[in-house]
Amino acid sequence: MAVSAAYIEDVVLVDRCIGGEQAAARDLFRRHRARVHASLFRVLGGNRDMDDLMQETFLQVFQSLPQWRAEASLATWIDRIAVRVAYRWLRRRGPAPPPLELFDDDAVVPASLGGVRRQLARDGVRRLYAALDQVTPAARIAFTLHEIDGRSVAEVAELTGATVTATKVRLWRARRQLDAVKAGDPVLRELLDGTGGAA
């Protein structure tokens, strides 16, 4: 089991939540919402359906809290639920254009970039998620959690409930798909080849 300094605090907080304390539920949500939101954002590429996904994630968290056995840290356990929610959502949705919000939102690219580079980066991110729409949900989740959310392959495997080997195959599939797309897309190529961790 993973042991962290916050472990005992987590246990106490969970206990209070199970006891029906609304203040504890709020506390738990506020502690974990930023990390969960960031992971979901990186998987999905936008905030369009975020309200539903965040609600679904945390409602499942609260419903399942009595089953938390402290085998994993609370954060990992919550992340696992968030990943499951994202997976189901991606499967339900099927291939679809990326959220329009992403195209228009300047905040999605680093503020340090300016002018043409900024435009290119925004286009690159948009095209990345458009390409990821063609990848299976499992491969997309593996890729985004690993390459964009910065989690290790082992962590991704743990969060998705897959083996490390299966996770590597999923990563490989996603990279291969992106390789195929970027061959004919200089903007996406600029985004992926200008970074160290892509296809």
Binding site: M1, A5, Y7, I8, V11, V12, I18, G19, G20, Q22, A25, R26, F29, R30, R33, H37, A38, F41, R42, G45, G46, N47, D51, M54, Q55, F58, L59, F62, P66, W68, R69, A70, E71, E101, D105, A107, V108, V109, P110, A121, G124, V125, E147, I148, G150, V153, V164, T165, K168, V169, L171, W172, R175, R176, L191, T195, G196, G197, A198, A199
Partner: protein, 411 residues
């Protein structure tokens, strides 16, 4: 070079939106208090030994299935301390000590939040070890008597038997009479100490004098230079823990495989750093050198894995996938096997590749790899056949084609 993650910035949700989500979640919570699961029937903080004992009784009656995890019981000892019988271990907690006990499967994990606990652990032969976590220090035991204290520093004292202390990848083994101490990563107040007891000596020796892994046998740590040297010597002579350090993989690979890896990508790769050769290499023919100088195409990128793990990924790819993905898997298998010095296994993968994917994307690389393996062994009929095949498919005009042509004429 930046990470891809640095290029995708998370657009934060507005406060109003977050508040709306929070309200919706709280409104969706069950109106009535759900029944607590059995293990949580125990109050989270047991202030006195009597309550602690009751909690442990409740905890012990939970059936211990091999795979089941009985979730945490937390204990906070009163001023007089507490004695808690876990069934297979007795924990004597000092005044103010607090800790949590978890049983994942048949193991016992004790997370020490603060204070000192003395443990008497029955032999755990055939069962998973008992581990005490104090800060980022893990004390692993299979049956012995010892104590762990956590305050400004983590301290382990062994009375009987042997325990293993693990921190940050360093492992120390302590025998009876040994004491191990080092500063805690997250210091907590010593519940048993008077308020004025902490400063002084601790701050003097915290940064440099007592570093990770410092261990003091049979006495009190003083930060004395000699003691630290002795410790380092012991650590250095301990058997290496890292995979690949002395493992069979390296034996399998041998000098040839290791040098191949370097030639191929022009770098010395992690875990296979070269040492000066024990024996001088035999003189290399010009043809052999030219073959070696030709880089092999790398297989499809599967991330930072090597050896057996990489082989598993490529094998899965070869078996589970079809078409181009499967062919990439076979080439990856051959590449890994060659890298490990398992030439015959590499040749088998190459043969399968050629029979299944005569027009595969990696055809040229496959044919060159076969030529390389066979001709670096010996310039014989098999080598010359591989060279002919290469020329037939890939021509004899390029740098590799010219080498293949020379091979066909070589004796």
């Amino acid at each position: 070079m930046t990470r891809l993650g640095d290029r995708v910035h998370v657009v934060p949700l507005e406060d109003e939106r977050l508040a709306r989500i929070e309200r919706a979640i709280v409104a969706g919570l069950p109106a009535r208090r759900p029944a607590r699961p059995p293990w949580r029937a125990v109050a989270p903080w047991l202030v006195a030994a009597t309550v602690a004992a009751a909690a442990v009784v409740a905890w012990r009656v939970v059936p211990r299935r091999a795979e089941a995890t009985v979730a945490p019981v937390m204990v906070a000892a009163g001023h007089d301390g507490a004695r808690i019988d876990l069934g297979d271990a007795v924990v004597v907690a000092g005044g103010g000590a607090s800790f949590t006990v978890v049983r994942p499967g048949d193991a016992v994990e004790i997370v020490l939040a603060a204070g000192r606990i003395d443990l008497q652990v029955a032999s755990r032969k055939g069962r998973s070890p008992l581990t005490v976590h104090a800060d980022d220090v893990d004390v692993v035991v299979v049956g012995t008597r010892f104590s762990v204290a956590r305050a400004a520093e983590v301290e382990v004292t062994v009375t009987e038997g042997v325990v293993r202390v693990e921190r940050g990848g360093h492992v120390d083994t302590l025998a009876a009479g040994d004491r191990w101490a080092q500063p805690a990563r997250i210091a907590v107040a010593d519940p048993a100490a008077a308020p004025a007891a902490a400063p002084g000596g601790d701050t003097d020796d915290a940064p440099g004098a007592r570093r990770d892994g410092d261990r003091v046998a049979g006495g009190v740590a003083t930060g004395d230079g000699d003691a630290i040297e002795v410790l380092h010597e012991r650590v250095a002579t301990a058997p290496p823990d890292e995979p690949g350090g002395t493992g069979s993989d390296r034996d399998d690979r041998g000098d040839r495989g290791a040098s191949r890896g370097d030639e191929r990508d022009g770098t010395t790769r992690g875990g296979s750093a070269h040492h000066p050769a024990v024996a001088p290499a035999p003189p290399m023919s010009e043809l052999e050198r030219d073959i070696r100088d030709q880089p092999l195409a790398r297989p499809v990128d599967i991330g930072d894995v090597r050896g057996q793990q990489a082989l598993e990924v490529y094998t899965r790819m070869a078996i589970d996938e079809t078409g181009a993905a499967a062919s990439a898997g076979y080439y990856g298998m051959a590449w890994v096997q060659l890298d490990r010095g398992r030439d015959n296994d590499a040749l088998r993968a190459l043969t399968t590749y050629q029979s299944r994917f005569p027009k595969g994307d990696e055809g040229e690389a496959v044919r060159w790899m076969e030529l390389r393996i066979r001709c670096l062994r010996k310039v014989d009929d098999a080598c010359r056949r591989a060279a002919h095949t290469y020329i037939e498919h890939d021509g004899g005009d390029g740098p590799r084609g010219r080498i293949a042509s020379r091979v066909t004429a070589a004796h």
